[in-house]
Symmetry: C3
Subunit: 144 residues, 3 copies
Amino acid sequence: MIYSQLSSDLWAVRLEDGDDILVSLRRFVEVKGVRAGLLEGIGSLRKVRLGYYDFETRKYSWQVFEEDMEILNLSGNVSTKDAGYIPHVHVALGRKDFSVLGGHLDDGSQANMVEVFVRRLPGKLVKAHDQKIGLNVLQLSDRI
Amino acid sequence: MIYSQLSSDLWAVRLEDGDDILVSLRRFVEVKGVRAGLLEGIGSLRKVRLGYYDFETRKYSWQVFEEDMEILNLSGNVSTKDAGYIPHVHVALGRKDFSVLGGHLDDGSQANMVEVFVRRLPGKLVKAHDQKIGLNVLQLSDRI
Amino acid sequence: MIYSQLSSDLWAVRLEDGDDILVSLRRFVEVKGVRAGLLEGIGSLRKVRLGYYDFETRKYSWQVFEEDMEILNLSGNVSTKDAGYIPHVHVALGRKDFSVLGGHLDDGSQANMVEVFVRRLPGKLVKAHDQKIGLNVLQLSDRI
């Protein structure tokens, strides 16, 4: 993983051959202390572990795909929960026949080459486990 | 719909169980007076009403899907037309088998849980109806 | 191609009927001198030339699709290589049946109507050819 800092709150990151995408992003925001952030990127991966969350059973199902796929879009945000940093990332992936797969990105996904922009946001984003939903969700202060 | 303001021009919004996604976003930008903006988000929905616009017939076709789907990417912008606020939003959605659907997001789409970032842009974005295209389009001042 | 400048570093651009999407974006960043940037957009196109890069053979395969498709997401960045500007753009596209195609966007893709936001970033983004990968990749200064 290589990077350049473009401003006090913005980094360009390039994930390299075999880098674990989510593990790398988690490590990056930990090292830089990005406690609230946005992630966006494009590129290519060779292996992906995708999740799909079923809100009725409140369980993820997972599937691994091992093939070169274009990352049409990597979108997500960064928050914290207790002492940990949580990059929450979804991907849409283009296959060789130009059909598309996608889901929630998990550890175990390996880059070919990914260009990601990490933007630190002002303020804090904190997650906590929601027992009804079964997921960690953003704790936000106001309601409309 | 809950939210926190992160800066004068940025909000983190979480749509909750059953919230109408587009109606909520329209209401949010109305309440906050966001007359020009960008929207980006990820999450999950349980029902979606997708549109596809045919530029020959100049008509939308619509289809409703009722199943939990990951929102791989919610992308859009905010402008105004006459007295109204127009959030224009497209979504790419991941199904249980990790295949992907997508289109123009309409009212009638219900969140499971969606994390959206609303960014107010400087200046104004105004739309007007274009009779040739059959859509409301951005009125912009310069041409290359 | 019409546009409005929203701030010193941000433009709203609308591609019109038949505009070549990538050629237009390349021309825009050249005219404005955007040597580092981010691109995001939604809209519709009528023709697309999509690429898929195979990291084993180190070759792109290309396919042209000629049909109206919703641009669910146009994501990319801008860098330079030697004297040239490089907009690197991926798209996810929604078909009439709401299934999705996607890949690396090439010259030869024609807009119906595309709303793109071009953001100039501070600093520089420079690419150079990587012989091992076979692609132009971002040259970044630091490593974790």
